[in-house]
Subunit: 298 residues, 2 copies
């Protein structure tokens, strides 16, 4: 079975690392240099301090027609519109698996007529060390949910049981994404603005108060019914990832663009539609946008 992975970021490299053993994997990168490096020096996976060098095929995205049974689209939400424009160049029978954060990508998927589309939520910790190296910093799972069409050959993957790379299934894609969105909407901006690891949102009493205030606003904007359950879920995630720096904090530290639009931007939009004010979301949205591209240590 042919597996394609669009995007050579942390998640793209992680997916390629774990699927390579059972499948024929091709990575589609944005830059030719990264493809060259991966072809020449192999893909390196670091886990528990051990290195593994994995032979993969890599091609710059757009150079040739994408032939795949399963196609993982792992680019960030803000690059997705550009990638999705080329869906005509992807083999018609491929099952498309979208692994973006937030909710901003859902509206783009309507362009994909008569395709098999699956949405996934990634709960692994993964850091891209360099263009060919990914470190698996936290073993989690990927949960998939059918958005339209059929699972197709993806079914095999659900039964594959790859060690340290479990793949689960969830019936309700909207509920699944929303649950992840709420975690992202709280943990990401708060850790980024306060410049702390995830666990500090629980350890520092006042930060937990901030998270609670933001949570109340986000729940109202998204019209969440299962408030306390969602809160417990967030607390568990913070405990489990206490020592991690969130992706948004890392993005800002590294001077990269964040995914704030797909996360808080979506919450604000939903609030707006429902006439629910979202002052804290707006405030944090501006804070993160203002911090993007500024020197972190000035």
């Amino acid at each position: 079975m042919k597996v394609g992975v669009i995007g050579g970021g942390a998640i793209g490299l992680l997916v390629a690392s774990y699927l390579h053993e059972q499948y024929d994997v091709t990575i589609y990168t944005r830059r030719q240099e990264q493809a060259d490096l991966l072809n020449r020096q192999k893909l390196r996976l670091i886990k528990h301090g051990n290195e593994q060098n994995i032979p993969v095929r890599a091609i710059p995205f757009g150079w040739e027609r994408v032939e795949a049974d399963l196609l993982f689209i792992t680019v960030k939400q803000y690059d997705l519109a550009h990638v999705i424009e080329q869906w005509n160049e992807w083999s018609e029978t491929a099952t498309l698996i979208f692994l973006q954060n937030g909710m901003g990508h859902i509206r783009l998927l309507s362009q994909l007529k008569q395709r098999n589309v699956v949405i996934g939520v990634v709960e692994h910790g993964a850091l891209k060390r360099d263009d060919r190296t990914v470190e698996h910093t936290g073993i989690g799972k990927i949960t998939l949910s059918l958005f339209q069409g059929q699972f197709g050959r993806l079914k095999r993957l659900l039964n594959a049981s790859i060690p340290d790379f479990p793949i689960g299934y969830e019936e309700d894609w909207y509920g699944m994404l929303t649950k992840k969105l709420v975690v992202n909407a709280l943990v990401n901006p708060l850790t980024a603005v306060l410049r702390v690891r995830n666990g500090e949102l629980l350890n520092v009493h006042e930060y937990k108060e901030m998270m609670r205030l933001l949570f109340t606003e986000v729940c109202a904007a998204l019209a969440l019914s299962n408030g306390e359950e969602a809160w417990e879920h967030i607390v568990r995630i913070c405990e489990k990832t206490a020592n991690n720096r969130s992706s948004m904090l890392s993005d800002l530290e590294q001077g990269r663009k964040t995914e704030i639009e797909a996360i808080l931007g979506y919450v604000m939009e939903k609030g707006n539609e429902r006439n629910i004010p979202t002052p804290l979301c707006q405030f944090l949205f501006h804070a993160v946008k203002g911090m993007e591209g500024r020197d972190w240590n000035e």
Copy 2:
């Protein structure tokens, strides 16, 4: 004329430096070591890179009755309750001049029956370098306003015209304090949480948006009528002090307690009385309280 200064912080040392030439000045310090150092090594004023060593008298606060015609109370708002308890030990004819930030101290002044009480607002930049050294980093002014009783011998000071230390007068103490409070409520918490100099609140478009959101909320909570005028005032202050680190940012950087209660705490209280929600104030209040006493560079 005898001038007493309670508090050996930046403002206390600054006031003592400038009044010493014309008046007989005594500084009342919290710690004996500071009084000893000031008596032994003199008070040092740094301005434009030049040093001046000024002979002053210093006594630990509480050791003896305070004999003064004018008594400047310069301790931070959160130390004021303790200081004010001893007002019986201050000479009855003294005019008391309170130079705290925020509004939290006003309710304490009701304890001072039949005293001459004046409130002042300080717009100087001053940094305490060590226990005997203050740097005058920004020449501004002090504005005084009568709270109760009479100006008494303070009138002389209004006509003194001391170079680099102008003293102005304002009829409406409430309006004067509110104007300063709004500046403090915006510039202090925002610069502290974003970790930027005052000017960045104007330079970074998104930070200015945050300031505007917070301004709207503070205006509503305080029922300010002259909104645009207040906003222009804040913008001017940020421009004039663009290169300064706010006192709250400095406090957090140095691991000191901030004056957040007297500033945002007061705004939240006023909002509460008027049934105006203040989510941004609450959020920033928690952020600053959470940051107090934490390692800034962890």
